[in-house]
């Protein structure tokens, strides 16, 4: 399985990669992107089974990325998990309405994100 981690912080991307390793998933490639624009470009080139994205990023934020994915006939099938510091109701509801499969607020326990990744990929009973 291929995954993509979208966050403008390299150390946050590294943290999320460690969490993905907790799942025991047989991963193929884990792509990384610094913003929504780079993520979109990569997604149009390579198939990915799950995207984990931050919201506040330069160039294209996570909300706009979701909007772009939803408007694409092929890309809208890719599940997206949002991982963000913003826990305001208005943002969460808006992103879920845009098709986000889950919303994880930073800070999070590693196992919380691990469980959401497994759920999004159909690996758990939850």
């Amino acid at each position: 399985m291929n995954l993509m981690v979208v966050d403008d912080s390299p150390v946050m991307r590294a943290f999320i990669q460690k969490v993905i390793a907790l799942t025991g998933l047989e991963t193929g490639t884990i792509y990384e992107a610094e913003n929504g624009e780079e993520a979109l470009r990569l997604l149009r080139e390579s198939w990915v089974d799950l995207v984990l994205t931050d919201v506040n990023m330069p160039r294209m934020n996570g909300e706009e990325l979701l909007r772009q994915l939803e408007s694409d006939d092929l890309l809208r099938a890719i599940p997206v998990l949002v991982v963000s510091t913003d826990s305001t109701d208005v943002r969460v509801q808006r992103l879920l309405a845009l098709g986000a499969r889950g919303y994880i607020t930073k800070p999070f326990l590693p196992e919380t994100l691990r469980d959401e990744v497994e759920k999004a990929l159909g690996m758990s009973d939850a």
Binding site: K18, A21, L22, G24, L109, P110, E111, R114
Partner: protein
């Protein structure tokens, strides 16, 4: 069933399916238990303090006593018996908060955080955790089945299960 008692500041592993690992009186101390269901290896450490003092080049005198060295020792011992890290199921219990502590940060809580920090360094997290609170605990782990039971004061026993439910 044979009982292998893990003392305070000590640890051990076993592949004998007839053995039960047990440690008593987990107050602010934390017990970490791991089980590889394929290799049939189980291990337990009962550590007292978060981090081993840095003593230059000399090896730590009592590595099991500390979260960082004890958990690392436990994993190494289990791997020597054939366990594989990616298969491990990890349990943690203890880290009770001392009632008369006035600071924001007491040893039970520090041990709980040190447990997670040490596991994270190894790319692991606990699968089942019964930590904090105010009471001492006793835990038993069956080497053969990997099942773990927690005893609270008053004799009540419950199994530590991955889905959070007690049996």
């Amino acid at each position: 069933m044979k009982q292998l008692v893990v003392g305070v500041g000590d640890g051990g592993v076993s592949r004998d399916p007839e053995t039960v690992l047990v440690t008593y009186a987990l107050g602010s101390c934390v017990a970490v238990m791991l089980h590889d269901p394929v290799a049939g290896v189980a291990g337990m450490v009962h550590f007292m303090l978060p981090e081993a003092p840095v003593e230059g080049r000399d090896p730590i005198a009592r590595p099991w006593m500390y979260a960082n060295t004890g958990i690392s020792c436990l994993l190494q011992a289990a791997e020597r018996q054939g366990a594989q890290k990616r298969r491990l199921v990890i349990f943690a219990a203890g880290g009770a908060q001392v009632m008369n502590d006035n600071g924001m940060f007491n040893i039970g809580k520090r041990n709980c955080l040190a447990l997670r920090k040490a596991l994270w360094k190894l790319g692991l997290v606990p699968h089942v955790e019964e930590t904090g609170g105010a009471t001492a605990r006793t835990v038993r782990m069956e080497v053969g089945s990997g099942r773990v039971w927690l005893h609270a004061p008053g004799g009540e026993q419950k199994e530590m299960c991955r889905n959070g439910s007690a049996r």
